[in-house]
């Protein structure tokens, strides 16, 4: 997606918000894993928001990972370990962008 229509000041502000988003995912993952039957609703909600916003600010890859995560939760297409692994991958991607 073209980012030519994203003012630099807004893109940088979004970039600066990524550590906070990574932290929210980490907390939500920790909370989800406290029970034997993980509750992915918070992870899904965060992923849903990220899937919507990341591409608008030019972070297409983050948006794609977030969308995959949401689909995985919706479809129950994998075991808990798979959702957990995808969430960790998303957190890592958020951290990578943060240092970009």
């Amino acid at each position: 997606m073209s980012v030519s229509h994203v003012p630099e000041v807004l893109r940088l502000r979004y970039l600066a918000s990524l550590p906070g988003k990574a932290g929210e995912f980490e907390q939500a993952l920790a909370d989800a894993l406290t029970s034997t039957q993980p509750d992915w609703s918070m992870i899904r909600s965060l992923g849903h928001k990220l899937a919507g916003s990341a591409g608008m600010y030019g972070f297409d890859q983050l948006g794609d990972i977030a969308r995959d995560l949401v689909h995985m939760i919706d479809d129950r297409s994998g075991p808990s370990e798979a959702v957990q692994a995808r969430t960790l991958a998303l957190i890592a991607a958020l951290r990578r962008n943060e240092s970009a």
Binding site: M1, H5, S17, K49, A51, G52, S53, G55, M56, Y57
Partner: protein, 229 residues
């Protein structure tokens, strides 16, 4: 157009607002269905842009309420990360006029919002008078711009200015202006015409520097002409 956005995520709302504001729309952002429905009792927008998943009531709840309320056929565009065929069909069957999957593409979003606004009559197609430079007189959208900047005019001021531009070079009698701009039935005096002419001269800066004159022809009327002619 006035566009109301229902979106709980500030990041997305900010970018949507920016894109639409840049196109000249009057954008109002609401974070919850409750905030939006309260606002809809005060002001009715030309287009509603609804997110689907929200913390309290969903965008679908708002759509259902809008369709059952006094608001009637206000155009609604869903914009959501819910991208399944089932969701899209549900939204359209519930009365949405269009559906965009997040993240939206800027030009597509603008085009779709403008298309539903146009279908609802909120936007008229552009119809620009020729030979009025440096003015752009768009009688379809009822806007006059000077050197690219829209000039704020009342409805009658626009009608009067557009009529004078459309008849540039001709002497237009005050009585004709009264009839064409205010209508036969109106009990308006020619003094009102003179006052409006004076205002559009000032607001549109019709003078030598912009290459136009709006001259008064004593006891007859007015003529709009190029200052070089």
């Amino acid at each position: 157009m006035r566009i109301d956005i229902l979106e709980d995520d500030p990041d997305q709302a900010e970018m949507l607002s920016l894109w639409l504001t840049e196109e000249g729309h009057d954008v109002h952002w609401y974070r919850s269905g409750g905030d939006l429905t309260r606002a809809l009792h005060r002001d009715v927008p030309d287009v509603l842009l609804l997110d689907w998943l929200l913390p309290e009531s969903s965008g679908m709840d708002v759509l259902t309420w809008v369709r059952q309320s006094f608001l009637g056929r206000i155009p609604v565009v869903f914009i959501t990360a819910q991208d399944s065929e089932e969701n899209i069909v549900s939204a359209l069957q519930a009365g949405a006029d269009d559906y965009l999957v997040k993240p939206p593409r800027r030009r597509e979003l603008i085009a779709r919002v403008q298309a539903v606004g146009r279908r609802a009559g909120a936007i008229q197609p552009s119809e620009i008078l020729q030979g009025t430079e440096p003015y752009v007189v768009d009688v379809g959208r009822r806007v006059i711009a000077l050197k690219g900047q829209p000039v704020e005019l009342t409805s009658k001021e626009f009608d009067l200015a557009a009529y004078m531009f459309a008849n540039a070079g001709r002497l237009v009698k005050r009585g004709v202006l009264l009839e064409r701009v205010w209508g036969r039935a109106q009990t308006i005096t020619t003094r009102t015409v003179d006052a409006h002419i004076s205002r559009i001269r000032k607001k549109l800066e019709i003078d030598e520097s912009n290459g136009w004159r709006l001259i008064s022809v004593y006891q007859h009327g007015y003529r709009m002409e190029h200052s070089g002619s």
